[in-house]
């Protein structure tokens, strides 16, 4: 179902639930993986994904249709991720490095990466990037998103995003080389 049709059906009380169910099915994987790559832990990603869709449910009536629905949902997900990581730092009075160290431990304990040394190094290198640069890298490298869409989600100019991605790639290659 197209986004426009989903929104029309969501606006009608009798088809509201059905339309929202379709919307969740359509975007759940993209949103989950976007979050999971930022917070690493499945349970955290699960909670945040549900929170994102609850916010979508609450605010979908106010969604302005001049933006694309999926960039709007991505934007909510991105904000949720950044808020979660910030709250983690505030909650435990942790400096940024300690949060990164915690995420690294989760990557090292991840059974999916066991035995794959190159992937392990890559994931650990990605985690060493600053949060916003990590977002940019993930969206371009894994999600293969266009810079224009990323610009809409992150509220940053296309030029700045290109530069940020280029620097992120160089840093990652350097981290892997040194690791």
């Amino acid at each position: 179902m197209e986004d426009k049709e989903l929104l029309e059906k969501f606006a009608q009380p009798e088809s509201r639930n059905m339309a929202f169910n379709q919307l969740v099915r359509k975007y759940q994987e993209k949103i989950y993986w976007h979050i999971r790559k930022m917070v690493i832990d499945h349970d955290d990603a699960d909670d945040l994904t549900q929170d994102v869709f609850l916010k979508v449910w609450k605010n979908l009536d106010n969604f302005r249709q001049d933006a694309q629905l999926y960039t709007w949902i991505y934007r909510i997900a991105t904000n949720e991720c950044l808020s979660f990581l910030s709250s983690k730092k505030r909650k435990f009075f942790l400096p940024l490095n300690d949060v990164t160290a915690e995420l690294m431990e989760k990557v090292e304990a991840s059974p999916e990466l066991a035995g794959d040394e190159v992937q392990m190094k890559l994931q650990k290198a990605i985690l060493r990037l600053p949060e916003k640069q990590r977002l940019v890298f993930n969206m371009k490298y894994f999600d293969e998103m266009k810079y224009e869409e990323m610009s809409e989600i992150l509220g940053t100019s296309v030029g700045a995003l290109k530069a940020s991605y280029h620097i992120a790639v160089k840093k990652i290659e350097e981290f892997i080389k040194r690791d």
């Binding site: 969740v24 099915r25 994987e29 549900q50 794959d116 490298y141 790639v169 290659e173 080389k177």
Partner: protein, 145 residues
């Protein structure tokens, strides 16, 4: 010397996994939470600002105590009045009314407005002497004109 690494040489893949059937269950779990949210919105009290709710509790309690005390004192006073009245004998009541009851100007006004047919026959046929005796019976000193 460490070997030069190129990101493009590394296979691009998602290294993480989810529990089996996770994406089949997720929409239902989200829908359950939206339904719960809708119910929360209907219940207005839980949505009130928490400090306001905490402040309302003792105020409400105080109001209930005040209403309770006021109601108790009102009903107790009424019962006491009725009990005192029950103790007064009929003779005492008749004596009191004979000694203190006065005829008001309004009583005359009411009497004048009555139509003849509404008055009982013994009143209409009363003689002038009997009427004077009847008037003498009342204490007229305190009549306020």
């Amino acid at each position: 010397m460490k070997k030069e690494v190129k990101l493009s040489d590394i296979p691009r893949r998602n290294p993480y996994q989810v529990p089996e059937g996770y994406f089949d269950r997720l929409p239902m779990r989200v829908m359950e939470r939206t339904a719960a949210r809708e119910q929360e919105q209907v219940a207005w009290l839980p949505n009130l600002w928490r400090p306001l709710r905490l402040a309302m509790a003792p105020l409400l309690l105080l109001l209930l105590v005040f209403v309770g005390v006021f109601y108790y004192s009102m009903t107790a006073g009424q019962e006491k009045q009725l009990m005192n009245l029950a103790r007064v004998s009929d003779t005492e009541i008749v004596d009191y009314l004979s000694a203190y009851t006065t005829i008001e100007t309004t009583d005359f006004a009411e009497l004048n407005t009555l139509r003849e047919q509404e008055l009982p026959a013994d009143v209409l046929n009363v003689s002038a002497t009997a009427a004077e005796e009847e008037l003498e019976y009342y204490n007229l000193n305190n009549i306020d004109y």
